[in-house]
Amino acid sequence: MLTMIGKRLMFAIPSLIGVVIVTFLLTRALPGDPAAYFAGPAASKEAIEQIRKKLGFDKPLIEQFFRYTSDLAHGDFGTSLTTGQPVATEIRNRLPASAELTLLGLIISVSIAIPLGVLAATRPGSWIDHLCRVTTTAGVSLPVFFTGLVLVYLFYFRLGWSPAPLGRLDVFYSAPAHVTGFYLIDALIARDFETFRSALSQLILPAATLAIFSLAPIARMTRASMLAVLASDFVRTARASGLSPSTVIVTYAFRNAMLPVITTLSMVFSFLLGANVLVEKVFAWPGIGSYAVEALISSDFAPVQGFVLTMAVMYVLLNLFIDILYGVIDPRVRLEG
């Protein structure tokens, strides 16, 4: 198995090289001149030229590229101009924020969507099936920023149940000592329950927003694949053999229906991680998505390249993990390149 993993990682290298080249060229092809943008409001042509020289954008493209790759090889992703910080540090600080939010959203989503999907599949046409259809349709058809704003309006502004949408922690709490970067876990490690509660209460609304959005694909996929499995011969045989309905559904049917669900889950996760920009904007969440978008808006090359590269690596690892998981769930699936 280890050699398989090694082989898979080897195969990922050419695609990562491709990503490096493409993002480099794409960011250079963007309209907009970072030198002019950062030269400030009262800059003359000379001032812009000075800035350009300082940033190294006056050099030929090929030289810029080699400098970039050699920095990359030394683990230096460059420095963001909009935030003024090294990109590697920023991504390291922001990735846990996004991951914590996305994971919690996904957990909420899964804990609602999978039971809903299973129940809907076992009783097609019943009220629970309709409920499943309604919630999923509502979930996908509401844009995330809209759901986010509605939730903020309702639970913060109107009812006052939720804390101010000010990011990961209330203003008067300081972050727990850094261990994993996940505030919930770090606060528990530090046995700081007040901070834990503050972090959790900040997380609920954005996580719910993400959950509502990601409910649909998971619930629909669970329902569809359960329906297919329940109609298959081995389930009929199991039922005929007099096994209890719960054993049939959970042990036999569900386990077999899980593969497509896992696939969907991995797609939803990676999609959410990169695409929850809007949720991050609405909740002032210091995540990786809003970071990349802001950089893009101001033609800030380094963070965009760093972001795409990190995402590419994450996709590779995620896919590998999912493939391993396949093997665990269904031994018939062998891990191959």
């Binding site: 963007l30 309209p31 002019a36 943008y37 800059a43 008067f172 719910a208 101001s298």
Partner: protein, 540 residues
């Protein structure tokens, strides 16, 4: 399914999730911290804590202003609507104890007890090093220094440990005011030099991440794009000790949420809300709202005089007559701006800038002018704006488009992303566009040097060239330097009249700085840089 049920089902789901946490209960210590802390929310934050840095953005200026001292600063006076407003003509010492202006130099004596945040005394050496740095690092700080004829390190002379002399390169009225802007701040030279490298002799990398000044506040924590936390420097000697102990500045990108935070009483101050929100907040009177016009700033419609048909003054006049001025004031700005149009016909030109033109919306006249110019059926062109300020620019351009269509000018709206805007302006190829310019130094000639002079700076977006205009501008600059008021007044009136006669750009209005704060927050002061001065703020 009905829309209402559908919404219900969604909010029902969310309620299940949100019910669990109770609202935070403040422990006593936290409640104290709250009353001594000022929470500011704004859309974006600094990218660099040092204004001398490469590409420091405008929020970064606010940090510099509050965390560093300058030799001198401005006194306050009562401004529009009774709001404290910086006094352009009156200076007060900040790090200096005393300012002595001679014929070709000015001498500053430093306050003896002034100390940097790390306890090191502020000496003449630090002042010279900082000013040398400002004129040497290049980019914006160097150009801002140049605006006051401060260009060479030899101009800054150490007389003794506590005395600095500044030699004028030439007589220039803007030299002293330029020492009170944000750029010539005094940096802890020993500390920064210790952290400088061969590649970075001015230690810009070090001061980017931390403040090394003697100012009233110092940054204790900065998470880029998220928050800046500043604490009061209790040993500050630049002025009376500020009342606010701690400032937390959080970035909240969503305008709706900034408003919600204010209305719920969680945030203390916000100053970049859309105009519509400000008007509504003003009306419901739960918050203190301050609106002050930008000093020396004008939003305008520009026309490139090098591109036909705008090379024809009659066409430009026709456009000026077709702008829906009042509609823009009402529908785009909700009255939160000072009109720069429609002065009474017989009104004499004033020695002031900005001042209103005599143009009003007159479609019939515009049509006649256009026919006279040889375009009885109009023409087609593009109307460009900066998407970075789409909140105002977009509706404004739509109104202008609609109005120009009435005289036969068909415009296509061209939205340019913020990152690209300055590049496009620099190329000087946009035929018709809207933009805003405001100068830190509040002098008419300063505005005109940037915007109308034949030197064709980036802000002369119209590529306007006129020997007559250049003569008026340099005439006014020279007259101001030697105090020849009569000549100065005549030249200022001359260039204003000419700008309105040739009308390469059509002034629309003077925008307002809008600040919303809680009722218990007071002491807001308007500064030329339009950012907050925490030193004067009070939270009851």
């Amino acid at each position: 399914m009905k829309r209402r049920d559908f919404l219900k089902s969604v909010s029902g789901l969310a309620a299940a999730g949100a019910l669990t946490p109770a609202p935070a209960i403040w422990s006593a210590a936290k409640a104290d911290a709250r009353s001594e802390t000022l929470l500011i929310v704004s859309e974006s934050g600094p990218n660099n804590l040092d204004i001398h840095g490469v590409g420091t953005n405008v929020p970064g200026y606010e940090v510099s202003w509050n965390c560093y001292d300058r030799l001198i600063s401005h006194e306050m006076k009562s401004g529009p609507g009774g709001v404290p407003y910086y006094d352009r003509d009156k200076f007060k010492p900040e790090l200096a104890e005393d300012m002595n202006v001679g014929d070709m130099s000015v001498t500053f004596k430093l306050k003896k007890n002034a100390k940097f945040h790390d306890g090191a005394p502020v000496t003449a050496k630090d002042v010279k090093w900082s000013l040398d740095r400002a004129v040497s690092v290049g980019g914006f700080p160097t150009f801002q220094m140049g605006a006051g004829s401060l260009t060479k390190t030899e101009q800054f002379v150490i007389v003794d440990d506590n005395t600095v002399r500044l030699d004028f390169a030439k007589k220039d009225r803007l030299t002293i005011p330029d020492l009170a802007v944000i750029v010539p701040c005094v940096v802890n030279s020993e500390l920064v030099k210790k952290n400088a490298t061969e590649k970075d002799p001015w230690g810009l990398e070090y001061t980017k991440q931390q403040t090394a000044g003697s100012g009233a506040y110092r940054v204790v924590k900065w998470t880029a794009g998220t928050e800046v936390v500043m604490e009061r420097n209790d040993a500050w000697v630049g002025g009376p000790l500020p009342k606010v102990k701690r400032v937390v500045w959080r970035m909240v990108p969503q305008a709706g949420n900034r408003r919600a935070l204010l209305e719920r009483g969680d945030a203390d101050i916000s100053y970049d809300l859309p105009n519509k929100d400000f008007v509504e907040l003003k009306d419901n009177a739960k918050l203190n709202i301050v609106s002050v016009p930008y000093s020396n700033g004008v939003q305008y419609i520009g026309m490139n005089v090098k591109i036909a048909p705008f090379d024809n003054v009659k066409v430009r006049e026709a456009v000026a007559c077709a702008i829906p001025y009042q509609k823009i004031m009402d529908a785009v700005l909700f009255g939160l701006a000072k009109p720069m149009f429609g002065a009474p016909a017989g009104k004499a030109t004033e020695v002031a800038w900005p001042q209103p033109t005599k143009y009003v919306t007159d479609i019939a006249k515009a049509k006649a002018l256009l026919a006279e110019a040889g375009y009885p059926n109009g023409f087609e062109t593009t109307l460009s704006f900066d998407l970075g300020f789409a909140g105002v620019n977009e509706p404004l351009c739509v109104l202008v488009q609609e109005s120009l269509a009435q005289i036969g000018i068909k415009t296509t709206i061209n939205k340019i992303p913020g990152a690209n805007w300055r590049t496009e302006l620099n190329k000087k190829v946009l035929p018709l566009y809207t933009n805003v310019f405001s100068g830190w130094l509040d002098y008419p000639e300063y505005f005109f040097i940037w915007c109308y002079d034949g030197k064709n700076s980036i802000f002369n977006t119209m590529s306007y060239q006129s020997k007559e205009m250049d003569a008026y501008i340099s005439g006014a600059v020279d007259a101001a330097a030697i105090g020849n008021t009569a000549k100065y007044d005549a030249d200022v009136k001359g260039f204003v009249d000419l700008a309105f006669k040739d009308i390469p750009r059509i002034p629309l209005y003077q925008p307002y700085v809008n600040v919303a704060m809680q009722k218990n927050v007071s002491g807001y002061q308007y500064w030329f840089h339009r950012r907050l001065d925490y030193r004067a703020l009070v939270k009851a």
